[in-house]
Amino acid sequence: MEATELGALYDAWASRLLAYMMTITRDRSKAEDALHNLFVKLAGGKAELRDPAVYLFTAARNEAIRLSRRRLEKPLADLDVLAAPSESAGLRDALDRLPSDQLDVVVLHVFEGLTFRETAEVLGIPQDTAASRYRYALEKLRELLEP
């Protein structure tokens, strides 16, 4: 991949990928290392990505998991990665209490705007499973937010 193409790819995707990797590593410096490794690998690859969102988020997820080994229990709120309006502050705290497989689906489908098909491909699960995990996540959030 040429330097200009890589630069354009970086401008278009790097911030989103960094934020996503922070939700996995729960550590900014590890996420930055993962982003660094990801783009170094991309530089040696082909220029045309057939489905960039799926490809990049899958690669980002794999790299973040490889570097973090296990998910830290550090709350997302401490990372300064979730920007929520003041009325959604409680919801942000509730997200931290979701099981990680449901949080993955919420992050990719809602925050990153991926379809259920793309989300399922990134996570390596069937599309129906992604949709049901999203439904369970909403139910769990409703429970957590009930007064």
């Binding site: 970086y10 911030s15 989103r16």
Partner: protein, 99 residues
Amino acid sequence: MTLEDRLRSIRLEADAGPLKASVLRACRERKLWRWTWVAAAVVMAVAIPVNLAVDRVSRVIVVRALPSELPVDVQEALRVRRILATTRPMFPRTVEEIR
């Protein structure tokens, strides 16, 4: 406002801009290293067989007598080259050479 609307009001934010220069530099360096290894491999692949071939040829050089009508300095240069061309290799390459 539904729960999904509230979820969509939350954004994931991280700025990767400050990392761009170092990431792109690392990419360039990686590419440069790769080409360095390729170049080294090509040189080795060409240089070793050529060197061996030249070495084989130099052993069968027919050394003629120096023409006497040449100037002295040219004769001296040719004499040195003849010595170099007929000098035995530093290390024996066959069992017969050792014997």
